[in-house]
Amino acid sequence: MGRRSKSSRSKAKAKKQSLEELELHSMSENESNEEEKIVETGGKEKGISERKEHEKKDDESEDENECTIETNPKGPLFSDENTAWLRPTKNKILDLDEDDGDDINEKELEVERQSRLIDMEMKAEKEEAKAEMSRTIAQETEIFHLPTMEELENEENRVVSPSEIRSRIESILEVLADFKSRREQDRSRSEYIHQLASDLSELYGYLPELMEYFLSMFGASETYEFVDASDRPRPLIIRTNTLKARRKDLATALMKRGVSLDPLANWSKVGLKIIESPVPMGATPEYLSGHYMLQSAASMCPVLALNPQPNEKVLDMSAAPGGKTSYLAQLMRNKGVIIANDLKLDRQKATVANMHRLGVKIVITCTHDGRKLGKKFPHTFDRILLDAPCSGLGVISRDPSVKVQRTIMDVKKNSHLQKELLLAAIDALNHKSKKSGGVMVYSTCSVSIFENEEVVNYALQKRDIKIISTTLDFGKPGFIRYKEKRFHPSLALTRRFYPHVHNMDGFFVAKIQKLSDGKTKHSLESTKHIEQDIEEKMKDSKEKDRKRKVDASAGKETLKPNKNAKNDHFSIPPSFPKKKSNAKVTKPRRYKNSGS
């Protein structure tokens, strides 16, 4: 047994060596066939088991050879000395049990070897993953190179693909997000922004000055979102005409025609969003019989903010084609009067048609110049809606020609017109109205500051008005400052809507209340204003004196002096601060009596 064990040990050693050689072979095989192994894990296992069998067979044959050599010369077949007959030839497991010591060690080596191989594979994978990580980190922390003037000139010679421009835009946005760490050392922030502006205007087709304006208003990443959203259409929305139909019935009727729709939002009881329609929405029998009107969500907001009541006198200064006018009439339940004004006759014809189609009976259509309405209808209206003509920078998704046709000059011209219209509207308001006290809404479909906050701020300085809340709880508050301009803080009550935030057209809504017929706001402290005020009040008071005399003779009620005493400052010398005005109420009368 000992001899045998020795020889078997030596043979085991030889086997080990051969096994090691085999290992090396299999290792190299493993390395080359890694991919195949990953794919065919089942096959891999088979391979191992096959190899095991193979090697076991080798062991077996060798052992058998040993046994046959040894048993034959010694004695009878079945004895304790010769235990070969106990060994079943085909059963490998029993082989393992019989061969203690070296053979088992060899088998363990086998298993160990396999597990070691697997461990080594896993290690290799981990290292590869680490290498990839470090590679990607290196890529991302790589500093983006802003093209210089020469490189840009070279660019003009070749065709730059839109995807390249887009990737450059995104890289610049990344740099601007963390400017300190991601910038190139010798390039300034304005260079990056300039490059961003030119890239954005090239990619989306805008005039460069418009893009620079948006960047100054919004900031880099928001401008990108805004411009991207302006390229995509807003959903189609209809407004139920409650004079003729209810939203539920209309929705059912339209769904019967195959239209898929949803209620618009929780702030609107009449809006419906059209998701898909096999029939043209502007030609259904329901449309023709005036059950609904095609109107965007943003256009509903100024009317909701104005909130007209039945039996009021309302003016819509820029009414064509009549979407907001009909909504006003709907809220007033066809009671009261609405004057729908617009400068252009062609567009007003559409207003007339829409009024008839929708069954509105209270509208008077006319074609005045809105700027003259202040003198034609002074202090007449309870509520006024001024949806001013504007550059349309918020509705680019509907009219892409705005991108190239509107310049900053056009925007400023519009601003001038809007200021005139707004002042005329304020003059036409009746601040003594019982119902609302003279309320108006100023709205535009533009996102520029020239046409929105500036116009309202101008009116604040020129008329005795105050800005009140629009009652629209969604929407972003208006700007209070922009570059070097500072606006009145109440402008934060105005509301702005954006296509990239609210999925509505770009819109601006401001609700204004008229406090008095005065030409200037009384809280201003400048002496110039006070002087102007005094002059005007002198004129006013002289007229009022005349009126009072006439009224007194006719036996009518006279104007109470106290009510307008605030306005009668003419006795106060210009240097006096206004805060003391209330205390001086009695003085005017003395002077008046002595003067008259």
């Binding site: 029998p285 023709l288 019989s289 009067v337 009976k361 509208v363 008077i364 259509t365």
Partner: protein, 181 residues
Amino acid sequence: MRPLTEDETRTLFVKLTEYMGKSIEKMINRSDERHCFRLIKDRVYYVSESIMKTANSVRREDLLHVGVCLGKFTKSGKFRLHITALEYLSQHAKYKVWVKPSSEMSFLYGNHVIKSGLARMTENTPQYAGVVVYSMSDIPLGFGVAAQSTEHCQTLEPSGNVVLHQSDIGEYLRGVEDDMC
């Protein structure tokens, strides 16, 4: 804007009576507020008195329309009803015709209503009486003139005219906007 002369008023009422019969009194003597007829550039408008007073302050050249336009007077003095009057016509209509959904669109294109498209008709409609056309869901589609009396319509062949088309709501799409004022 001026009130109608007697002749004009008579022509108007004769025309309206064709469609409304005696209900025309309801238009003149209303329970809620007095309404009146006014003329702007040959078109007749039906409007409440308070609105009319407000409209008086608007300059003649600038005034486009007031209230509801019923129709216009032609050069030869006859009165022609417009589709814009449909609401009042359908409110007080004497003779009504209901049209099947299949021939709704045909009528909206301006074709006459033929027997195969007819669903219902009021009894005792005399021939050439003013008739208001409705869809099966009771939406007024337009108006016209009965080509045959109700009894004759029953014996008519399927392609025969039942209602001669005069005006329909499809006109809002067919460029009648220029015709509004």
